[in-house]
């Protein structure tokens, strides 16, 4: 009975954390526990949430991408700079540019056979540099008012980004669960060599996962640009770490082959609640940095410890 209860809590540890955070925040702030707060919370995590969904797909295949922040920034800059061609054209151009960065990452990893980390570190620097070149190191302001509706309007009292978030997570959940694209993702992350021997086109799919990850980051860039109506090369310089932490917190393993998009959503929610808590408790920005770093370390250490224990158990059994 006791063991069962412990297992139940262990399996639902993310929900336990979320509930604990909600309780703390409700006690600290009388006005916190309202429907309005929850809606605005989801509205806030929409941008990171969309990126984290794409990152989850890539992490499951055993790769990862540090350039998503730069992809987001470049997408925004290109949207703002090309608004003279009309709203639709500018958005398409921005998303295409962002996705192209993912294609470049994919080609360098698959064809160049370079470590994903160093490729995306390089493209992160290059495209942040490109952003600086395009904007002359100054933020650029958008000129189309209608573009802001995309993220600032509401439907039935719920902001549009919440709907985007739901649609993206539903789509990714379905794709990972019930399509060849999703099953190959887990197979490649689990064991790339045996996947190749089983006839999966590992290179092609790895390339596609990079493209999808950047595509999602570009979508996040559209949302962000529409929200702040500005493009800047410095946007998103810490997001890669936070998003990877959210996914790993949600149970996706950095070693590949394991992860769920629902877990990632919970991870993003937890990080969102912590950010909110830091605002409510009036935490100094420098301490916020410390808190974020500590969370990342705590998450990664837990991931490593549980993986090690599982491997130890497997070795003992085998």
């Amino acid at each position: 009975m006791k063991v069962k209860a412990a297992r139940l809590i262990a399996d639902r540890k993310l929900l336990v954390i979320i509930i604990a955070l909600l309780v703390i925040l409700s006690v600290a702030d009388r006005n916190f526990f309202t429907l309005q707060t929850f809606v605005s919370l989801f509205d806030h995590i929409a941008i990171n949430g969309v990126m984290a969904a794409g990152m989850t797909i890539l992490l499951i295949s055993g790769s990862f991408d540090l350039s998503v922040g730069s992809v987001m920034a470049v997408t925004g800059i290109i949207i703002v700079l090309s608004q003279q061609f009309g709203m639709l054209a500018s958005v398409l151009l921005g998303v295409a540019a962002g996705t192209a960065i993912g294609a470049l990452n994919g080609v360098l990893v698959v064809k160049g056979k370079i470590n994903a980390f160093i490729v995306t570190l390089g493209t992160m620097i290059i495209f942040r540099g490109l952003g600086l070149v395009l904007t002359n190191s100054h933020p650029v302001k958008g000129s189309i008012a209608a573009f802001q509706v995309l993220s600032q309007a509401s439907f039935l009292g719920i902001p549009l980004p919440v709907f985007y978030l739901v649609v993206v997570y539903a789509a990714v959940w379905y794709v990972l669960r019930s399509t060849k694209f999703g099953r190959n993702d887990f197979a490649i992350g689990g064991n790339a060599v045996s996947s190749r021997l089983a006839g999966i086109r590992v290179d092609l799919y790895t390339f596609l996962y990079f493209v999808v990850c950047s595509f999602m980051a570009a979508l996040a860039g559209v949302l962000l640009t529409s929200r702040v109506n500005t493009g800047s090369a410095v946007f998103g310089d810490q997001t890669p770490m936070l998003i990877i932490a959210a996914a790993v917190l949600g149970g996706t393993s950095l070693f590949g082959g394991k992860g769920t998009v629902i877990g990632t959503l919970q991870g993003v929610l937890i990080l969102g609640l912590i950010e909110r808590a830091m605002v409510i408790f009036n935490v100094n920005t420098n301490y916020q940095l410390l808190v974020r770093g500590t969370i990342i370390i705590a998450v990664i250490v837990t991931d490593a410890l549980t993986t090690k224990r599982r491997e130890g158990a497997a070795a003992a059994a085998g």
Partner: protein, 327 residues
């Protein structure tokens, strides 16, 4: 020096030349670059410019020594620049108590940071990229908390300040410090038992463990030494720059990684050495200095550096496959 390179058995003269070309590509590029630069810019070969280059890039070079050690052990320290920041803050804050105390504090902070990284990576076996990205944020956060986000004024004692400005035998003292640290770390890597073990662990940690090497301790030590070197670099940094702003140091990180990879130390671990890093440093310094002399805007310089990093990595991978073929 300190290289694990395959020599084909019974290679003919032509093959030897080709091999030499591939192994020393970066040296050849360096020489060509120096020739082109001295033709393109009259200022380049002047002593004033060369000494400026030495002063400007000696901190890069010292950090690159530590990074080389970590990368040979199949790791990477993305928090190096933040450790540098934190050590510099400790140094400046303790300067009123005398420079012996402030230097000791820098080194102690560096070792402590390296110990934290090394423990999490070697003992806990957490992914080194995410660990050092996380500690990067933590160290910067701590430095910002201590300084309250303000700039610090470094008021080094005369002797200390002299270190940053003086010339000995016609070369800046900073340059001599760089040479000294390079020689010590190079000898450690190539000639000491621990250094050879680090290469073995970087090449194949399982095989190293099977042959009785305590790989956990070796990897842990590599991060601690890197922390110590960051502490040393901070001492030199504070002796040269009067104002320390936390956050500026982050520019160092990508430059340092680029320098190490450019020299030919493989990110896959177990291949490389300080001699290669020295060549990487010179190429990097020449290109950066060249771009500055040619008045290329800062934004484009960043772009060029990113592209150099990618090209260097591509070449590294090409060379790795070539070595495997020769074997």
């Amino acid at each position: 020096m300190g290289d694990v390179t395959a020599r084909p058995a019974g290679a003919g003269f032509k093959r030897g030349v080709v091999n030499l070309f591939y192994e020393q590509t970066m040296l050849i590029i360096l020489i060509l670059l120096a020739i082109v630069m001295s033709i393109a810019s009259k200022d380049f070969l002047s002593f004033g410019n060369l000494f400026n280059v030495v002063r400007q890039y000696s901190v890069h070079g010292i950090l690159a020594c530590g990074m080389t050690i970590v990368i040979i052990g199949k790791g990477m320290d993305l928090s190096a620049a933040s450790i540098l920041s934190l050590c510099a803050v400790a140094n400046v804050l303790l300067q009123p108590y005398g420079y012996a105390v402030s230097i000791a504090a820098s080194l102690a902070v560096g070792v402590a940071c390296g110990l934290l990284n090394g423990y999490l990576i070697a003992k806990v076996k957490a992914n080194f990229i995410i660990v050092t990205l996380g500690t990067q944020i933590i160290f910067t956060g701590v430095a910002l908390i201590i300084t309250g986000g303000m700039n610090l004024r470094s008021r080094p004692e005369p002797l200390f300040h002299w270190l940053g400005e003086a010339n000995i035998l016609g070369m800046p003292a900073l340059g001599w410090s760089l040479v000294l640290i390079m020689v010590v770390s190079g000898v450690l890597l190539a000639r000491s038992i621990a250094g050879r073990r680090l290469y073995a662990v970087g090449l194949n940690d399982r095989a190293a463990r099977a042959s009785g090497i305590n790989d956990t301790r070796i990897v842990l030590a590599s991060y601690v030494i890197n922390g110590l070197i960051c502490g040393l670099a901070s001492v030199l940094l504070t002796s040269r720059l009067p104002r320390i702003r936390v956050g500026t140091a982050s520019d160092y990180l990508f430059d340092v990684i680029t320098i190490v990879v450019l020299g030919g130390t493989a990110l896959s671990g177990g291949v490389g050495g300080i001699y290669r890093t020295a060549i990487g440093l010179l190429i990097f310094a020449l290109i950066s200095n060249g771009m500055a002399l040619l008045h290329i805007p800062f934004e484009y310089q960043q772009l060029v550096k990113g592209i150099i990093l990618i090209l260097a990595v591509l070449y590294d991978e090409f060379n790795r496959r070539r070595r495997l073929q020769v074997l």
